[in-house]
Amino acid sequence: MRNVWIIAKRELDNYFNSPLAYVVAFAVLLPMGIYFSLIVWVSAQQAMMGGSPPDSAPLNWLFVFLLIFLGPALTMRLLSDEARMGTLELLLTAPVRDFELVTGKWLGAFLFVMGLAALTLVYPLIINNYVEPRIDWLATLSSYLGVILVSAALLALGAGISAIFTNQFAAFFVTLGLFFFLWFMVNLPAGYLPSGGDVLNYLSVSTHFSQSMNNGAIALGDIVYYLSLTALGLFIGTTAIEIRRWR
């Protein structure tokens, strides 16, 4: 498992060596900052009429929503670029298992996103200073657990798709399409179908987050769902690398 960490560390360094990390951080933190101001402002207005105090749930929803679009940018070149540059040949002839390689790549992207998520902790901290009573930290914790799990799952799928392609833009668009589908599309017909709607709802990435953990309800089923998706993504990536070897 040390190999996973060594690869993840290099990947993390690599993000900060390229403009990508800063562009993504900017694209996440700017809308969140604006949204945060809006929420505080609206809540302040409503508080006069006895509205509920603000919490971090809508902010974390926005974070995950932005991840649908920015996640593919973070994962697109994880393995596709290694294949394009030929450096995959170095990694595949080093004493590293294919699984460790894919997991390390994923972990690098995951840690970067976790760093961003950690920066957003500043918002509940600010809110906490201004509301009476203090904000519900357990609900906040549940919401952040959701962010961690959703990020892990999406980035693993992205890493897996990146291993299939040699062209990073192909990886980007396929990943974006898949995220979009899993977030918005898959449960759309659920309400119209005579039966089977539950299955579609179950498959949706958003329902397991928005309707449960982001509302302060931690359910084992949701955790299992996200961990399964993470495992699936890493499995796809490992298999794609193995197929590359056989070609």
Partner: protein
Amino acid sequence: MIKVSGLTKDYGARRAIDNVSFDAQQGEIVGFLGPNGAGKTTTMRILTGYMPPTDGEAIVAGYDVVEESLEVRKRVGYLPETVPLYNDMIVFDYLKFMGELRRIPNVEDRVEEALDMVGLYDRADGYIGNLSKGMRQRVGLAQALLHRPEVLILDEPTIGLDPSQVVEVRELIKEIGKERTVLLSTHLLNEAQNICDRVLIINKGKIVAEDTTENLQARLLGAERVTLRVRGEAEDLLQTVKKVKGVQSATAREDGAVEFEYSSGRDVRPEVARQVVNAGYDLIELRPIGMSLEEIFLELTGSDAKRK
């Protein structure tokens, strides 16, 4: 240290290597000689655990490349032909990264040692993307040497280097080859002669000849070939050369020069020169021409290729 038997690899319908067998002992430098597309890189990629063979078996450093790939990879140093490197990394960091993956103790000392060996110590803090091709080649070599591997597999190690660097790298390989097993590929005959103890000639996926460098040289250089040129018109030059005793064959080239061959035991050049001068020509060039790889292949692969 390397034992290969019946190795075959198909890419779809195309057979890249066909039933290749050879071995290499410890302390031996074995050269893989062949034109582009002959199957050198494919064979090396199988031996380094990068890809599995379609058929056959390869044992490297005592482990099977398919069954115990990780063990093989721990003991092999590999320089791929394209020298893939991370351009946005610093030389030192890159080598440290590769060293960490190989679990080298005191990795920073070993990186410095490897950089010293390839003469890149002063560029350790530079970005790989800013290096010249020759320097990249040496970074790749440092990476292959980093973990002091038992088996070193080098795909075209001197390609892209300038002449003085070529000499340095060859000396380095010879030094390493004293204790370890080195398998290197090249399409330069003189390189194979220069550094290898034994040469495998591969063409169209098959090994067509395997011999020590000396034997191969003797086999190939059974006859010496010389080109001769005189000033001005020379209608009877060919006849003059042909008449000299010991000249095996002589042909006139389109540009007016004459090429002749003689058996290597008996040097007829002084006599040819004398006769040409006596016949009243101004001799301006008498130059031995080495056999090109192309010609060696014609020699080794027999008549079917000779039509070219």
